[in-house]
Assembly symmetry: C2
Homo-oligomer: 456 residues x 2
Amino acid sequence: MMEKTPGSVTMEKIVSLSQRRGFIFPSSEIYGGLSSCWDYGPLGVELKRNVKQAWWRDIVQGRDDMVGLDASILMHPQTWAASGHLEQFADPLVECKQCHQRWRSDEVADNSCPSCGGELTEPHLFNLMFKTFMGPVEEDANVVYLRPETAQGIFVNFQNVLTTTRKRLPFGIAQVGKAFRNEITTGNFIFRSREFEQMEIEYFVRPETADKWFDYWLEERRKWYLNLGIRKENLRLRPHRDEELAHYAKKCYDIDYNFPMGWAELEGIANRGDYDLAQHAKHSGKEMTYFDEESGEHIVPYIIEPSAGVDRSVLAILCDAYDEEIAQGELRVVLHLHPTLAPYKVAVLPLSKKENLGKFAREVYDDLRQCWMVHYDDTQSIGRRYRRQDEVGTPYGVTIDFQSLEDNQITIRERDSMNQIRVPIATLKETLAAKLAGQDLFVLPEGGQIWKEEGT
Amino acid sequence: MMEKTPGSVTMEKIVSLSQRRGFIFPSSEIYGGLSSCWDYGPLGVELKRNVKQAWWRDIVQGRDDMVGLDASILMHPQTWAASGHLEQFADPLVECKQCHQRWRSDEVADNSCPSCGGELTEPHLFNLMFKTFMGPVEEDANVVYLRPETAQGIFVNFQNVLTTTRKRLPFGIAQVGKAFRNEITTGNFIFRSREFEQMEIEYFVRPETADKWFDYWLEERRKWYLNLGIRKENLRLRPHRDEELAHYAKKCYDIDYNFPMGWAELEGIANRGDYDLAQHAKHSGKEMTYFDEESGEHIVPYIIEPSAGVDRSVLAILCDAYDEEIAQGELRVVLHLHPTLAPYKVAVLPLSKKENLGKFAREVYDDLRQCWMVHYDDTQSIGRRYRRQDEVGTPYGVTIDFQSLEDNQITIRERDSMNQIRVPIATLKETLAAKLAGQDLFVLPEGGQIWKEEGT
């Protein structure tokens, strides 16, 4: 038995766990990886799906004032002229006159190349949009860009959505999708990558109510993370200083998370004013207004934008859930994931591989997976199997032993408390459903009993 | 009252309905659209989500022998050397020597430009992958491609998945995601676009069992479409002729759908043999084998690939569900969508906007939407509201009238039959749940009654 000292969460531990257990792999790893792109493995894809599903359910399906959209990644290039991205979405770069490597000028301390010591050029602007050519001819007329944000797909569809849904102000359009930024400096695992996924709301309001709705969304979005189990002390609100406001923003707050590398943005909430609709009206020549039937006026709504990163949310959730402790003399690594987010809700664990036990356990498994993502594991000792499930955040284990064959009772083991309760199989589903919904079962089902996990 | 003659489904009708009701819009429409890219509107995004969700539930979450993956769109360029895409994923193009327009050589009948009549060059190969540059320098070393298929993201992760999940043959890895092809000829609405979404399974099997699993998946996938309500007579299986087989395929069948423009591929099922794993092993220098514990041998599995198009599925589902009929002397357009796929499952329709009726209807609405996507509509006549819901495929309407306030009964109206049943409100949820699950309620709840919809 190896004893270790439980430590705090580090990025190295999260990266290692992610790769070891199939949450996240480096992209194209067999070819040495692709700088700052990542692939979600079998557990990661379920975790990420659960995050997006929770957002869609809460933001789109659960609200009267919101509809969804899924715009394409390739958009008409005029979009980026109107949005300001062609001109302003750029970093200043310097190039080494000797070795021709390029650097972000704000990251080079003096005027010599960090690689070879050569002299550097004056800074020039480098646009962060990925560009490609549509159609068979590689010429300027056919340049298109991979969208650097999902927001513009919503703005250009403003009238389409208004016409087809007949929504009244205030209302929002929400979208989940990939965006691409050719960042010069990437890093911190999936925190800043060149291909990433956004969950964006564009909420259209009467201009005079913009401040009120800004405050509303700031609080709504903060609560959303808290409701998914993120610890209060790891979230903070940070107003942007005037000089860091984006060109389109009247006001912006970040919801920061206390990552292992420090506080960093999880979500930005901006008052974009009428900038986007006015710009697209100007560049397209199309009407981008809302007709107010009461006053008979055409209004250009203001837009409040809560813009969250899916990958950053996944990273924050992993970091926040990660814990090490000594249990029964061994180091226990556990992800205290909220049941809504956990890839598996339940693991079914027969005590042995013996045939009659296996058959019984399979029946339980087949029954439970009608309701939830359930994992079946009958290899190695029960203690090791508990630890494997702890490490990937499975909230409940269901253990089936030889006694179960006789008394039709099975054991539910809780990931967080390591408490075990024994319940009649007829009550298993409802007991798990109640527990997964956050109802703590102080009242055991008839015939149930509770005890603390012992050495394994 | 305008009478029209009911006709059959055409692509024009589907495109028009899609745009009019917010299923699908041309991308960047305010800028004249972007050739062959499409945006899913508020109803389309829900329909598409339902298709992907049904696939994920049936293919990944409902099976023991399958895990999910979500690989990045940008991959290491070596991937495309190994897969054969760099060399072979190309169309022969000719260029007009006079006006420099380019054409696919198999689509030009004689040697003169269809546009200006000029002379054409000899055909040369044009690669269909979108290319872009990663990092700040636009040079050959930094070229990356947008993946033209999701499959390769699975192959390069074969060992990662094997190690982290300890799966045994046969098992599959499934993925849903965007892919991009710079097609010369696009069209037929969302059937062939440059940006599209795939649902792909790569199923790894012992080589000697490949034929058996090929047949298995052909039948499984055909059944999947049938289970989602696609009519049997609109599906066919078509074996590829030897000369049309892709370079990696030993055998391939298409599942074709009878679209308005004719039979065309919905899904391809291919036996890829050991081509992909062998190629990636060769190009990466990494082991891409499966260790068989029983025989002690390292095996290169064969791969059976059922590869479906999400957008094509959506199009087939819309075409298959579309119907016109004369009802009560008027043309009724109805989408007979399977309840699993319908964007809204239920519409709540108070007979009038009067306050007490509205309050009652809102309570019903708030209750039902805990379970399903529900639409609330209290504008215009009840007949027009029924037609609006028919047109977007909402299976059930719940009508609340003044009598409801007194007897606590409400009317459920069926989209397909236009039958109406009146049930006590206490039984509403369970009645709807049973109906949505496909159980026809010949036994009415106590106190219920049934009648046929009359003129409105």
